[in-house]
Every structure is written in C-alpha cells, then in structure tokens.
C-alpha cells in the first residue's frame, strides 16, 4: 500500500481495524480524542461499532465483557483515564483476558496537563492495579512503529492471554507522519479462542471467566500461572533498538519513545563534531531488556550510562537494576509537558564527556 499522512491517533485506530479488531470502547480525553473520532467514522464501514462509555470505569468493564467472548477489543485513553481503568485491568489480568490498552500519556499526577509526558512508566510496568500481575508494555517512537506494534499487540495479547499496553507520549498521538499499512496482515497461528471463551454453552459445559478464587490454593495457583507467563514473556518478547553503539563510546544513552528521537538528533549532530555516543532504546518496557542494557553498559570504554526521560527518573530505576552498580547511571529529564531539546541533550552529554564524575542537574 502507498504511504499516507496520518496523525498517530488515527494511525493507531486504523492499525487496529487492519488487525481485525472491530470492537472499541472509550471515553474522551485529550490528547487521544482522534482515535474515537476516527473509529466512530470508520467502524460502521467494517461491520463494527464504537461505543462511548459513560466513564473510563465503565469502559474497563466493557473491555472485560467483550474480551471474555474471545473477540478482539481495545481502548485508548490518556493518563488520568488509564488510572480510572486500573481496577478492571487488574481483573482482566487475573482472568487471563487478551485486551489491548493504549495510553497516550500527558503530564501528571492528577489532572496534570495536556502536553506530552512519560510519567506513567511505573503505572504501566509495575502494576497500577492490585495483585501479582504485569502488563506486556510496548513503547513506539514513530507513527509507523505505533502501527506495527498496534497490529502485533492483538496477537501478543492472545498468545499470553494477558492485557497488552501500548504507551506513547502525547506526541505519538498528535504528530503526523507518513505511514504504510501492510497489504495483507498475517499472524502466527494460535490455538482458537473458542477453547476458553464464552461462546454459548450449547453441547458443552458452561464456562465462567473470573478473577475471584476464594480457595487460597486456587488463588496461589493463579498467581504462579501468571508469574510463569511473565517469565515466558521475558524469554520471548524482549524488543529494543541500538543506535550508533560503538566500542569507543564513553556514554550509553537509554531513552524510549519520542524522547529517543530527540536523543538521536543530538547524537547525529555530535557525531559530525567527532563525538561518538550510542543510544539504547527499549521497545518493550515490560519485559525490560535488562540483560542487553547491562551488556552494553559493562563494555570497557563506557564511563556513564545516561537515562533521559520525560519523567522524574522512572525508567532509571529499571536501568539501575539492570546495571547493578557496574557503571554510574545518570539522569536528565523534563516533565509536565516540557520536552528536552536536542541542544539540551547535547549539553548534558558534553558535560559528562568533559567531567565523567559530575552529577547532572535535574533539568
């Protein structure tokens, strides 16, 4: 298919349709409203329906119901709305339901602001809701990658029967870029959803899909079953991208989403000035590419690992855990809708090149 120009929010919506998802529930919130607008327009053309819930709490429960039938379903929201969905996300994880949730992040906490941020990293990767569960978390940095990951996410949700979350900062939702959709969408074969879903009990025993296990032994089993799934994700689903990583580099930057693109501009310009810096960009935030980051950080010439985020050092905790003190891990970031410029990133890099032992200013 030829390239067309799309806003990230529109592209995410179209990608879901192309992946065969015609069930979409949402409640409006900036900066992701174009997804609902687009789906309201497009879904009737492909035999689906868009239903606006009366709140994000309602939407979360609509997802639970739709996913229980084995049909593909997704929602989109932004930070405060995602907070409201946490109860049902925990229920869906506990009930092993495949569902896709997109968070186009804005500044928080609370109502925060409407400009881009990456402050929901903890919420996405460390739970958010209650109980022993995880989400498979994907973080695109371009609109094309948002399309590709969106189409993949339905398959991953079904492969693990677990909610998958795509997190993009507001820029991913609002900016426009040329994108291409595949002519034919193919996925690896999976066992049919009919084996577990609620499809009508004619000729078989009724099924109950639930996260309630009053017998502690059964609840313990369920939690360890979940644990085993997450361990399998760590073996099979780690995704990342390396950029200009070379043996002579003294600094390894770790950054994700659109922040990584700002780092790339800084890195490209420094390269022209003869300063070589590499970037490690996690694409899966859970499972986190800890071993791969540790391997790069431990390389002989690396003096500092520099984490750059639009948050107050949330992903840095995972990088700290990955590197385990083998090298210093420094941080630079802005939040609340402020976006670090390539010049600001270059300045921080040059400070560390000149004085590797310096601590950086917070912003």
């Amino acid at each position: 298919m030829a390239k067309i120009l799309m806003k990230g929010n529109e592209a995410i919506a179209e990608a879901a349709i192309k992946a065969g998802c015609v069930n979409y529930f949402c409640y409006p919130i900036t900066p992701q409203n174009e997804v609902g607008e687009y789906m309201a327009r497009r879904l009737p053309e492909v035999g689906g329906a868009f239903l606006q819930g009366e709140s994000e709490v309602a939407v979360g429960n609509m997802l639970f119901g739709a996913a229980s039938t084995g049909q593909r379903v997704f929602t989109t929201s932004s930070s405060p709305g995602i907070s409201l969905m946490q109860e049902s996300i925990s229920y869906m994880a506990g009930a092993h339901l495949p569902v896709v949730i997109v968070n186009i992040m804005r500044g928080g906490p609370g109502l925060g602001g409407i400009l881009p941020a990456q402050s929901d990293y903890f919420q996405a990767t460390k739970g958010g809701g209650h109980g022993d569960y995880r989400l498979l978390v994907l973080a695109p940095s371009t609109i094309q990658e948002a399309v590709d990951l969106m189409m993949l996410s339905f398959h991953l949700a079904e492969k693990y029967r677990n909610p998958v979350m795509i997190i993009g900062d507001g820029m991913i939702g609002q900016m426009m870029e040329p994108v291409e959709f595949p002519e034919h969408h193919e996925e690896p074969e999976l066992p049919s959803n009919d084996l577990w879903a609620i499809t009508g009990a004619k000729g078989r025993e009724p099924r109950v899909i639930k996260s309630l296990f009053l017998d502690p032994k059964l609840l313990d089993d369920n939690s360890w079953n979940l644990y085993d799934k997450y361990a399998r994700m760590e073996r099979e689903e780690i995704r990342f991208e390396s950029y200009r990583i070379k043996p002579k580099n003294k600094i390894l930057i770790v950054s994700y989403g659109t922040m990584a693109r700002i780092c790339q501009t800084a890195i490209d310009e420094l390269e022209k000035d003869g300063v070589s810096v590499g970037l490690f960009r996690p694409i899966t935030l859970f499972p986190f590419p800890s071993k791969q980051i540790a391997k790069e950080a431990k390389k002989k010439n690396i003096e500092n690992v520099l984490v750059i985020e639009m948050s107050t050092a949330q992903m840095k905790e995972d990088v700290d855990l990955a590197v385990l003190g083998a090298k210093p891990v420094k941080f630079y970031g802005e939040t609340g809708g402020l976006v670090p410029s390539p010049d600001a990133v270059k300045e921080q890099i040059m400070k560390l090149i000149k004085n590797p032992n310096d601590e950086l200013k917070r912003r």
């Binding site: 390239k3 067309i4 120009l5 799309m6 806003k7 529109e10 179209e14 900036t30 900066p31 174009e34 327009r41 602001g113 409407i114 400009l115 881009p116 507001g170 820029m171 609002q174 900016m175 426009m176 870029e177 040329p178 659109t258 693109r261 700002i262 790339q264 501009t265 809708g337 976006v339 670090p340 410029s341 390539p342």
Partner: protein, 237 residues
C-alpha cells in the same frame, strides 16, 4: 537540473480577511503562518494572525507566535495557562479584528466541521465586509483523498460555519517523502474539486526545493513557498 529553477507568482489578496479552513491535519497552521509571513513582506498593510484552533491540543500556529512577532506579525493567541488549553476559547480581540478590518487578518481555524463551527459564532462579523474562506486540501490525508471526500469536507464545513468557501488551496505533501509527483497528484485532485465547485484554486503551497522540480508550465496558479515553522522537537529548520 539545468538552467534556473522556475519561479512562481506569489498569491495576492484583495480582501482583508483570509480564513484558512480544512480537514484535520491538512496543513492549515503551517499554511497560515507562511501566508502571514508572505503578506508582511509583499504588501504594506499590517498583518495579524489569529489562532482559532480550539479542537487540537498541539502543533497550532500559536506555537510559532514568538517567531512571528520577530517578523513583525501580530498574533492573537490565548495568554497564560490558557495558551496550552484545548478549551473552546474565542478571544474577544478576534471578533474585534474581524469587524475592524484593519490590514490583513489571517485566521487559522481548527480542523473539520467540528473545528470550523467556531466561525459560525463570528458569522455576523464576517458578513460585515469582504473575506476569503479557503479550503486546504492535502490529498494524502485519509478523508480527502478523492473528490467525494473533499466535497463532503467542504459541505460539512460550510454547514457548521454558516459561511461559504471562496477558494481552494492545494497543499498536498507527504512530509519528507514528498516528490514533485506528490504535489502534482494533489494539484490534479484539487483541479477536479475546483471544476465541480466552480471555486478558484487560489494558490498551491509546497516546500520550494520540491516544487521547483515540477515541470514548468504544469502549475498555472500562484504558489506559496513554504518554510517549516511548526517543527517536531527533534527536527531542525
């Protein structure tokens, strides 16, 4: 390429008010900012740009306000925290500027019929004198990729704004993938829409390094040569 690049006549406007209207992401803000810059250079009257986009949270012409100020263009944009809001705020100065018709006023209107609804509330001020209302078309956008889509956009906007279009802007591009063919494919679609609606193509807008690659003589309307003002954080001008 041999010889000198073709030069195109720049658009000129008799009317004091030029409203830039169109679908989401058709390029209205970038066109409005560039047009303001052209007007301040090419004619003696003062130029004002007003951001009427109340449906989009990012990439609005207000983001270029400080640059415009340096170019001598007055901008009417919400101040303080409201600068960052996507609330339905119509500054009273905008109505005043439309009524006064002092110099040239470029209006950057929000996308689709939803964004253009704001014009409806300014209808009386508009009708007090002459104005241009121009439909921006980018043929590479999903809902304006054919004549039927453009006609629907045009009719929906006219209905919600209670104003009639006076012309069309051909603004087809594919960002860094734009070629002279991209521009010409969009121009041909715009010509079809112009024929069907009997509206003139007031100008074609494009990045100068690409539009100069179009075979001479194929574009027979004025051209607005674009610079990028609304950049992504990792882009350099």
């Amino acid at each position: 390429m041999t010889g000198s690049a073709p030069t195109f006549p720049a658009p000129e406007f008799k009317e004091p008010i030029i409203a830039i209207v169109g679908g989401y992401g058709s390029g209205k803000s970038e066109v409005a900012v560039n047009l303001s810059h052209l007007l301040v250079q090419s004619q003696p009257e003062p130029v004002t740009i007003a951001d009427l986009d109340i449906v989009n949270p990012y990439f609005r012409s207000r983001e270029a306000a400080s640059q415009l100020d340096k170019l001598g263009i007055r901008s009417i944009v919400p101040e303080g925290s409201l600068h960052y809001a996507d609330l339905p705020i119509i500054l009273p100065q905008i109505k005043g500027a439309i009524e006064n018709r002092d110099g040239k006023l470029v209006l950057d209107v929000g996308g689709d019929d939803v964004g253009a609804r704001v014009l409806s509330s300014l209808h009386d001020a508009f009708e007090k004198g002459g104005y241009e209302m121009l439909l921006v078309i980018n043929a590479n956008r999903p809902f304006t990729s054919d004549v039927a889509g453009c006609m629907k956009m045009l009719n929906d906007i006219e209905k919600s704004s209670r104003l009639k279009f006076t012309g069309i802007i051909s603004n087809t591009h594919l960002m860094e993938y734009t070629t002279p063919d991209t521009i010409m494919d969009g121009y041909r679609l715009t010509q079809e829409v112009a024929t069907k609606t009997k509206l003139p193509i007031v100008f074609l807008s494009a990045m100068s390094e690409i539009v100069t690659g179009v075979e001479p003589g194929l574009i027979d309307v004025p051209v607005l040569l674009l610079d990028r003002y609304l950049l992504k954080p990792w882009e350099r001008s």
